[in-house]
């Protein structure tokens, strides 16, 4: 019995102190009430470089509490790097990151991470349930083994993604979509107020996509914050509240109706020569827009409805994961 979250109503701008019915007392790291007026995650002047090549350059983003935010951008735009830097997996060259007002080392305990499923060896000798139980390792502490409580929490999380029947399966036997749902369940077990997901919809079957969408709307109903790297532009307005357009620089960020415009998308996908391969010229556009400030008329007029959303890369979801991480 989950209340259907309203997209235009209070779901968009949650007042201070608002939490979902199940939202009370969760989150092992932050016992005190979260200040919901300040951003869940705040990134200032972030620059990340591999060798001399900048991957993220002077990026400022604030992620709203209780919102589902998509990070979109072409391959090599630094989307995965942004997520991994927030988690402390990548060391930035410069910049400041605050998670619930805390620096990364403390703040990341409030974050549940869903990595790209290709990031691990699925031939590892372990079961589905074991993988999900790993989500409890952070709060277990040293020398304590996961027990019955942890296994029950894991089973519950598996049920939320429709995988409870697979608990005892070897992970080698899972399909790609099932792998993704197992990773999602592992993150749910963490009971964290913030979720960072790296391409959760990448190459999954329709059933998995439905399951993930359902989990996302549950999380929003509870007042949790979700940030996901996303490739399929056509589903951004349907699935997400906010969007960050990223291409090494932050092109734009904010609520989907205002930010997810044709002009911004052209700037994001078309303006950068080294990534020309990512550009399948949008219909009607003679050449890719040269950069910011391109005179595309009617910002906001065509972008808010999903049907009219421009999709410069029709095959976006079928592309391989971006190689930046």
């Amino acid at each position: 019995m989950k209340p259907e979250p309203t997209r235009e109503g209070d779901g968009r701008r949650p007042g201070p102190g608002r939490r979902g019915p199940e939202g009370r007392g969760r989150g092992d790291a932050s016992g005190e009430e979260i200040d919901r007026t300040s951003p869940a995650i705040e990134v200032n002047d972030l620059t990340v470089a591999y060798r001399e090549q900048p991957v993220l350059w002077d990026v400022d983003v604030a992620f709203r509490h209780g919102a589902l935010t998509a990070i979109v951008g072409p391959n090599g735009a630094g989307k995965t790097t942004l997520i991994q830097t927030i988690l402390g997996l990548v060391r930035p060259a410069a910049g400041r990151i605050r998670i619930l007002g805390q620096p990364v080392r403390e703040g990341r305990r409030s974050v549940a991470y869903v990595p790209q499923r290709g990031s691990v060896d699925w031939d590892f000798p372990t079961s589905v349930l074991d993988v999900v139980v790993m989500g409890t390792y952070g709060r277990l502490g040293w020398f304590r083994r996961p027990g019955r409580r942890e296994r029950e929490a894991a089973l519950e999380a598996l049920a939320k993604v429709g995988m409870e029947a697979f608990a005892e399966r070897q992970i080698r036997q899972l399909s790609g979509g099932q792998q993704q749902r197992v990773f999602l369940a592992r993150a749910l077990v963490q009971e964290a107020p913030i979720y960072l997901m790296d391409e959760p919809f990448q190459g999954v079957d329709a059933r998995t996509e439905r399951a993930i969408v359902e989990v996302l709307s549950d999380l929003r109903a509870r007042g949790d914050t979700v940030i996901a790297v996303h490739h399929a532009l056509q589903t951004v307005p349907e699935y997400f509240d906010d969007v960050v357009l990223l291409n090494v620089r932050r092109i734009a960020s904010g609520p989907v109706p205002q930010v997810f415009t044709e002009e911004n998308l052209r700037t994001c996908y078309g303006g950068r020569v080294p990534f020309l391969h990512a550009v399948a010229g949008p219909p009607g556009a003679g050449s890719p827009a040269p950069g910011a400030g391109s005179p595309v008329p009617g910002p906001g007029s065509s972008a808010s409805s999903s049907g009219a959303a421009p999709s410069p890369r029709p095959g976006a979801s079928a592309r391989p994961a971006d190689g930046s991480a």
């Binding site: 997996l89 990595p115 372990t126 399909s175």
Partner: protein, 392 residues
């Protein structure tokens, strides 16, 4: 020397018993810890550590003039650890990939060790005699005190592995996720690698620097074939490592001049080969049998469809057809008769006089089902639900 004599020696001969005990503990330790190295795709790290230990052994001798095992092991440990750090430093520097870094460290340290060893052996100092047994190992040089050292350190390593089990497991499966959880994976990595260095260094006296990495990799690779549980894999690798150690050490200790390392490694390799071939599910034999079963089914289906096509040309579908016709239709492939026998056993085809065959009514239903769903698909009677298992 006969098997009975070796067994008798293992139980009652003091030297042999000492050697076997030491080899068992070492094999178990290296085998169990090797599982993590293999799962983390760091199989070569063991090779680099053991080769890097050689200059440490020689330098420890040169500096102290002692050939006592703890002294040499300490030297080996320091050199092995430095080698590991060198690999990490080269990889962090970002100029070279990990396998190249491992290769460089391995050959540079080992080459330096060999130069030192040759130099020491050229000096008029009788005490150096036997240092070169560290190349290929010599079980006969193992003393009870050495075994006590190995047993003590081995127990400590086992305890640490139990205490840090979940961290080691997560480090091996998904280190990035572990760090995102806030676990200090850098330190856990150091601990696990440190244990591996200790296990390798302790084994050098018996197995030698050249082949010690086999004791790390082989038992783990063999154990992986038999199980899908990390705990079982680690325990089994320990047992297999101990088995290889005892068998190899006993064989070499009973014959004069047989280096222990190669003997142990031959036994371990034998275990790996057997595992690769015979293990259920992952083994080669099981795979070949699975493939043959699928092939048989596809062939039988093809013959059934031929029979079905023939039956459509006659008013009476039970009209029998000559084997020769079916063989021609099957592209002269062998096994048409065998396929017909399979079909007969299923009740889908019936033989009649003079090598003639006819499709049964059930066979017709099956053929029509095949035409709808495709040849080679699952049929309702053969349940192989364990395979694949993708439901969506």
């Amino acid at each position: 020397m006969s098997l009975a004599e070796i067994l008798h020696g293992l139980l009652f001969d003091f030297t042999l018993r000492t050697v076997a005990l030491g080899a068992a503990v070492l094999g178990a330790l290296a085998g169990a810890l090797g599982c993590f190295a293999v799962l983390r795709r760091q199989s070569l790290l063991g090779d680099a550590i053991s080769h890097a230990a050689l200059p440490g052994i020689v330098l420890a001798f040169v500096l102290t003039g002692s050939r006592a095992t703890p002294v040499l092991v300490l030297g080996a440990g320091i050199a092995g650890w430095l080698g590991t750090l060198a690999v990490l430093a080269i990889v962090r520097g970002g100029r070279l990939p990990e396998d190249t870094a491992l290769g460089i460290v391995l050959s540079v340290f080992f080459g330096f060790g060999m130069v030192l060893l040759t130099w020491v052996q050229g000096r008029p100092d009788a005490r150096q005699a036997g240092l070169d047994t560290f190349l290929f190992g010599q079980a006969a040089t193992v003393l009870p005190a050495d075994v006590a050292l190995v047993a003590g350190v081995g127990s400590a390593a086992a305890l640490i592995t139990v205490l840090f089990w979940k961290e080691f497991k997560l480090l091996s499966f998904d280190p990035d996720y572990a760090r995102a959880l806030g676990l200090p994976m850098g330190r856990v990595d150091l601990l696990l690698t440190g244990l591996l260095v200790v296990a390798i260094v302790l084994g050098l006296q018996m197995v030698g620097v050249v082949l010690m990495s086999a004791m790390v990799v082989a038992p783990a690779a063999a154990a992986r074939q038999w199980t899908d549980s990390l705990r079982t894999m680690v325990l089994l690798a320990g047992v297999l490592g101990a088995t290889a150690g005892v068998t190899g050490a006993a064989l070499s200790a009973t014959a004069r001049g047989v280096p222990t390392g190669p003997t142990i490694v031959l036994v371990a390799s034998g275990i790996v080969v057997i595992s690769l071939l015979a293990a259920p599910r992952r083994g080669l034999v099981a795979e070949v049998m699975r493939a043959a079963r699928v092939r048989r089914r596809i062939r039988a289906d093809a013959v059934l469809l031929d029979l079905y096509a023939l039956s459509r040309q006659h008013a009476r579908s039970a009209h029998p057809h000559a084997l020769g016709t079916l063989q021609t239709m099957g592209g002269r492939e062998r096994g048409v008769t065998a396929s017909l026998r399979t079909l007969e056993a299923r009740g889908w085809a019936a033989p009649s006089a003079g090598e003639h065959w006819a499709i049964t009514e059930e066979g017709q239903l099956r053929a029509e089902h095949l035409l709808r769903t495709g040849v080679g698909g699952e049929d309702p009677e053969s349940v192989e639900g364990a395979e694949g298992g993708a439901e969506s």
